[in-house]
Amino acid sequence: MSEEFNEKVNVVASFVMTPQRTVRITPHAMGWRGKRYKLATMGLYHPARRGVKRVHIFEFTCDDTKFRVELDPDSLEWTLKEVFYG
C-alpha cells in the first residue's frame, strides 16, 4: 500500500513569518516524474533529526495518494520519501 522513495522533487511552497517570529512553511504543489500534483489536504508537519541537522517533514494528500516529503533547511532541497496509495 505504501512505497518508499528517496527522490528529489520540486515543490511550490509558501514561507510565512508568524507573529511568534517562526516561519510557517506550507507546500502547495509538487512536481514528480513529469507530473504536477496539487496539494488537496495538508496532513501533518513535524520536524525530525538527522544527527544534529533538523529536517522538516510534510505529509499531504492529493486525490487518492498521500506523499511524505522532506525539506532540508540548509540546501532547501525537497526529497520525496514515501508514497501511500489509498
Binding site: 496532513g43 501533518l44 544527527g51 544534529v52 517533514i57 498521500k66 501511500f84 489509498g86
Partner: protein
C-alpha cells in the same frame, strides 16, 4: 474512628488525554485513513500486535494486543502502520506548549496525556470557569496540532479524579468531578473502570466485600490499609477516592530497553549481540541523564515454556492477548555503580548465563536500577584504563549525536540480523528532553 469527609475544595486539576493517540496522529497525517480502521505497531511482522487502534477499529473489536492476523479477519480493510516516533514526539511537544501557556504547573504525564494544575490561580482566570478553558484547550489542539485531533478533558479535585473524569464521553468529551457529584459518578461506574483497578485488584477488593466504586469509597481506612493493600497504598486510596492529592512525582528510577525480536532466535551468540546493543542504548541514556546504575535486571520471554527445574524466576504471561509466551527474569544488585556499555554488558552476560538454554527468545528487556548521580571522576596523574574507555564511549556518543544514531557502533553489533530501531517510548517521556 472518625471518617474523613469528601474533599470540599472545588476541582482545579485538568487532565487532558489524546484519544487513540498514535492511530489518530497517523489519521491526521494521512487524510486517506480517516474514518477507517487503523492500528499502529512497532514492527510489521507475523507476530505484530496492535499497540493502538483508531476508534473505527475499536468499534470492530480491534484493541490493544490484537494480532495483525486477527485484526484482518475482523476488518479486511484494516490498515496496520509502523510507529513513527518523531511524529508522536512532535504532537507531544505541541500539546505540552499549549498546556504550559495556561499554568506554570502544567506538564505531560506520558506521551499522550497531560495535567494542568490551576490550584491557586482562580484570580488569574478572570472569572472564567475551568470548563470554558477545557473547551478552549480542545479547540487549540485542533488549531495548533491538527484539525482531526480530539482530546478528552477531565477536571477533578486531584490528578486521579481528573483522569477518571477524562475517561468519560470519549472520543471528544469534557467531564467535571467535584464534591457535589463525586458519589453520583462512582454510582454509575464499575470498579474496573477506575484507573489502576484491573482484574487482579478487583478480586482482592471483592475478598474484602467491595464490589462497586461506591463501596470502595465507603470502605473504612483500616480495611484498605490492613486487609486489601496491606501497605501505605491503602491509605493513599482512602485519600484519593475522597479527592485528596496523593500522587508524588518521582525522578528517573530505572533506565532500560525493551526489544521484540524481529528474527526470533535461540542462538546464544545472536542473543549476546542483542544484549550488547541493548546495553549500548541503556548506557547512552544513563550518560545523557548523568546517572550510574548498581542494579541490572534481564527479562526474557520465550516461545516455549521453560522447565520448572531451570534456575531463575518464571512468570507465565497473563491473559492470552500477548500470546502464550513464558518469561524468565533474573536481577542482581552489584557493589559498584557503572554506566558504560561494556560494563553493563559483562553484567548482563553474567545474568544471561543463568537463563534456560535452547529456548527461542521472543522479547528481551534489560533494566538498570538503583540509579545514582554520576560523580565527577577524581583527576588522576596518569589516565586509568577506565577513564580512557569512558572517554572513548563519550566520543562515540558525540559522533552519533552529530551524524545520527549508530553511525559509529561496536563491531559486535554489526553482525546482528536484528535491527534495534528507536520505537515509541511507552509510558515514559523522560528521555525526550
Amino acid at each position: 474512628m472518625v471518617e474523613l469527609r469528601i474533599n470540599p475544595a472545588s476541582p482545579e486539576i485538568m487532565h487532558i488525554d489524546l484519544n487513540s493517540a498514535f492511530a489518530m496522529t497517523e489519521q491526521q497525517a494521512n487524510s486517506l485513513l480517516r474514518g477507517k480502521p487503523v492500528g499502529v505497531t512497532n514492527r510489521i511482522n507475523d507476530y505484530a500486535i496492535c499497540l493502538t487502534a483508531s476508534y473505527e477499529a475499536k468499534r470492530l473489536g480491534i484493541n490493544l494486543g490484537t494480532r495483525l492476523r486477527e485484526a484482518r479477519q475482523l476488518a479486511p480493510n484494516f490498515v496496520m502502520l509502523e510507529s513513527d516516533a518523531p511524529k508522536y514526539q512532535y504532537v507531544h511537544n505541541q500539546m505540552k506548549a499549549i498546556f504550559q501557556s495556561y499554568s506554570p504547573t502544567a506538564y505531560m504525564k506520558s506521551i499522550d496525556e497531560g495535567i494542568i494544575d490551576f490550584t491557586g490561580m482562580r484570580g488569574l482566570l478572570k472569572g472564567r470557569s475551568l470548563e470554558d478553558i477545557g473547551y478552549e484547550v480542545k479547540q487549540r489542539v485542533r488549531d495548533e496540532v491538527g484539525d482531526y485531533m480530539t482530546v478528552n478533558v477531565g477536571i477533578g479535585q486531584n490528578r486521579w479524579l481528573a483522569k477518571v473524569a477524562a475517561g468519560f464521553m470519549k472520543p471528544d468529551g469534557l467531564y467535571v468531578i467535584g464534591p457535589d457529584n463525586l458519589e453520583a459518578t462512582y454510582g454509575f461506574m464499575r470498579l474496573t473502570e477506575l484507573p489502576y483497578i484491573k482484574n487482579k485488584m478487583r478480586v482482592r477488593l471483592a475478598d474484602a466485600g467491595i464490589y462497586t466504586p461506591l463501596e470502595f469509597l465507603q470502605a473504612p481506612e483500616h480495611v484498605l490499609t490492613k486487609q486489601v493493600y496491606k501497605s501505605i497504598n491503602g491509605h493513599h486510596w482512602y485519600l484519593k477516592l475522597r479527592g485528596y492529592e496523593t500522587e508524588v512525582e518521582y525522578g528517573i528510577r530505572t533506565v532500560g530497553r525493551n526489544y521484540v525480536l524481529e528474527h526470533r532466535t535461540s542462538d546464544p551468540e545472536e542473543i549476546s549481540t542483542l544484549l550488547y546493543k541493548a546495553c549500548a542504548k541503556v548506557a547512552r541514556r544513563l550518560r545523557k541523564n548523568n546517572l550510574v546504575a548498581r542494579g541490572l535486571m534481564l527479562n526474557f520471554s520465550y516461545v516455549e515454556s521453560p522447565q520448572e527445574s531451570e534456575p531463575g524466576h518464571y512468570q507465565p504471561r497473563y491473559g492470552s492477548r500477548y500470546g502464550s509466551h513464558y518469561g524468565w527474569f533474573e536481577r542482581k544488585m552489584y557493589k559498584t555503580a557503572v554506566r558504560r556499555a561494556d560494563q553493563l554488558y559483562w553484567r548482563a552476560l553474567d545474568l544471561f548465563g543463568r537463563s534456560p538454554e535452547g529456548l527461542t527468545l521472543a522479547t528481551l528487556v534489560i533494566t538498570s536500577y538503583a540509579l545514582e548521580p554520576a560523580k565527577t571522576e577524581q583527576l588522576a596523574l596518569y589516565d586509568s584504563e577506565d577513564v580512557r574507555l569512558d572517554r572513548i564511549e563519550h566520543a562515540m556518543n558525540l559522533v552519533n549525536d552529530k551524524y545520527g544514531e549508530l553511525t559509529l557502533q561496536p563491531v559486535a553489533i554489526l553482525k546482528s540480523k536484528n535491527p534495534m530501531k528507536d520505537k515509541i517510548p511507552f509510558g515514559t517521556i523522560r528521555y525526550f528532553n
